[in-house]
Amino acid sequence: MSKTEIRSPLPGTFYRSPAPDVPPFKADGDSVAAPDTIGIIEVMKTFQELSAGVEGKAIRFLVDNEEPVMAGQVIAEVEA
């Protein structure tokens, strides 16, 4: 099983859910398709959806909800 990294294209704050008190887009261990939204990056008060970009199984998030991220930082890994 090879691991594929999903990186944030933007710096900002990472959110796993579409809104507070709502389940996350993806739970750890979920499978993802390339167009699936896996989180939101808030950059300067604007919200940009982050899609997986790859197909894979057993997604594992490396960044917690509401954590600051840098551009290029690995957000999650999937098993391709």
Binding site: L10, G12, T13, V43, M44, Q48, E66, P68
Partner: protein, 461 residues
């Protein structure tokens, strides 16, 4: 009670502006900062700086307990809230006062009253200020809605009484529209806010956004004339002017007098702004809301009147009487402010935080650049994208636009994409030169003129 020291409960360019005003008054400054803002210009300029929390604004700049604790620990006399963040939070104003400190702004109760849209409309009506025609309050059903719409004339805006953020708003251009949209709007309001109550407002189709700067000390109230803020994108002002070009003198006098009447009605203390919609076709104006703080675009008023608004609000908070009588406030020339944001207009205004590799600031007579930038500064991605304001003043509007074009050409920001190019295009645009604006002008212009010029697709992020 003279203020000898103050804490800046804000960040960015307005923090720098407040520090400059305080220094000129001989006041000691203490700057708060989040963990992401340790390199901020205001931190370098202030006499002291204190960290109040992590990068997330909710845990730092919006954290009332942390900010008040920092103010108490720093031993300051007063707190200046700037704009945004906690500046119009009545609970914050109360908490500052409860800690035995002076809040530089109105009392919490005044902020509360004017912050409530329905209550503020009632205050305006009591002061004889015209409000947007519509229903007096909530509407009981479609029958009443139809009667109101017939009275005000179509188009009308159906708004959720408990609404906000643009949700629960529908526009009806005729009776059939109203009959179709009214139940939908009610259902949407109920789902979104747990309250299906609606009210109706006439749509002012070709409106200008004109606002009046007021100052009050609780007993004396003056206006410092108006600002023209019609160039907006997504309800965010992009370019502001003072005075409002092509506003008839009699309309100006009525508008400014009504703002002073409103200030008197609530015994206003501090600097504030009364916002209006102005209908070019009828010459009518309508009250929108009062902002109980200093505004981003305050410099254009300072440039044409010579009044230092930030210094004046600090003095008033310290118990001083207004230092300027109304008859001494005069309009001299014309001023324009361009908001400089780190955003890429060609990519749907995507925010572009990053490092400033090189900065050349225009200077000279009638040119002012209020900013937080310096060479080598890395703009954090957690806050607003506004990084500077270029303000230009000249004897008349034409001369001002010429001077603006030269100043924009001299303004060099190397690093992240900015909106400087957008302002250059606006400054040279014939419609802008002619003063033909209304609140939807800029969005239409971006889709047509600007898109054609840059070859960008008309997508919006």
């Amino acid at each position: 009670m003279t203020i000898r020291s103050l804490l800046i409960a804000n960040r960015g360019e307005i923090a720098v502006r407040i520090i400059k005003a305080a220094k000129a008054l001989g006041i000691r400054t203490v700057q708060i900062y989040s963990a992401a803002d340790v390199d901020m210009l205001a931190v370098k300029l202030a006499d002291e700086a204190v960290e109040v929390g992590p990068p997330a604004a909710r845990k730092s700049y919006l954290n009332i307990e942390a900010v008040v604790a920092a103010a108490k620990a720093a031993g300051v006399d007063a707190v200046h809230p700037g704009y945004g963040f906690l500046s119009e939070n009545a609970n914050f104003a109360d908490a500052v006062e409860a800690a035995g400190l002076t809040f530089i702004g109105p009392k919490g109760d005044a902020i509360r009253l004017l912050g409530d849209k329905v209550a503020a409309r009632e205050v305006a009506a009591r002061a004889g200020v015209p409000t947007v025609p519509g229903s007096a309050g909530r509407i009981d059903g479609l029958e009443e809605a139809t009667a109101v719409a017939e009275r005000t004339g179509y188009p009308v805006m159906i708004k959720a009484a408990a609404g906000g953020g643009g949700r629960g708003i529908r526009v009806a251009n005729n009776r059939a529209d109203l009959e179709r949209h009214f139940p939908q709007a009610s259902a949407e309001a109920l789902a979104a806010f747990g309250d299906g109550g609606l009210y109706l407002e006439k749509v002012i189709t070709r409106a200008r956004h004109v606002e009046v700067q007021i100052l009050g000390d609780g007993e004396n109230f003056i206006h410092c004339y108006e600002r023209e803020c019609s160039l907006q994108r997504r309800r965010q002002k992009v370019w502001e002017e003072a005075p409002s070009f092509l506003l008839p003198q009699d309309a100006r006098e009525k508008l400014c007098a009504s703002a002073v009447a409103l200030a008197r009605e609530v015994s206003y203390r501090g600097a504030g702004t009364v916002e209006y919609l102005y209908d070019d076709e009828t010459g009518e104006f309508y009250f929108i809301e009062v902002n109980t703080r200093i505004q981003v675009e305050h410099p254009v008023t300072e440039m044409i009147t010579g009044i230092d608004l930030v210094a004046e609000m600090i003095r008033i908070a310290g118990g001083a009487k207004l230092s300027i009588a109304q008859e001494r406030v005069k309009i001299a020339g014309h001023a324009v402010e361009c908001r400089i944001n780190v955003e890429d207009p060609v990519r749907g205004f995507l925010p572009t935080p990053g490092r400033i590799d090189r900065l050349v600031v225009p200077a000279g007579e009638g040119v002012r650049f209020d900013t937080m930038l310096y060479e080598g500064y890395a703009i954090p991605p957690f806050y607003d994208s506004l990084v500077g304001k270029l303000i230009v003043h000249a004897e008349n509007r034409d001369a001002c636009l010429d001077r603006l074009a030269r100043a924009l050409a001299d303004l060099t920001i190397v690093g992240p994409p900015t909106t400087v190019g957008l302002h250059q295009a606006l400054a040279g645009d014939p419609a802008v030169k002619g003063g033909a604006f209304h609140t939807r002008f800029l969005e239409q212009w971006l889709e047509t003129e600007f898109a054609g010029e840059t070859g960008r697709t008309a997508e919006v992020a």
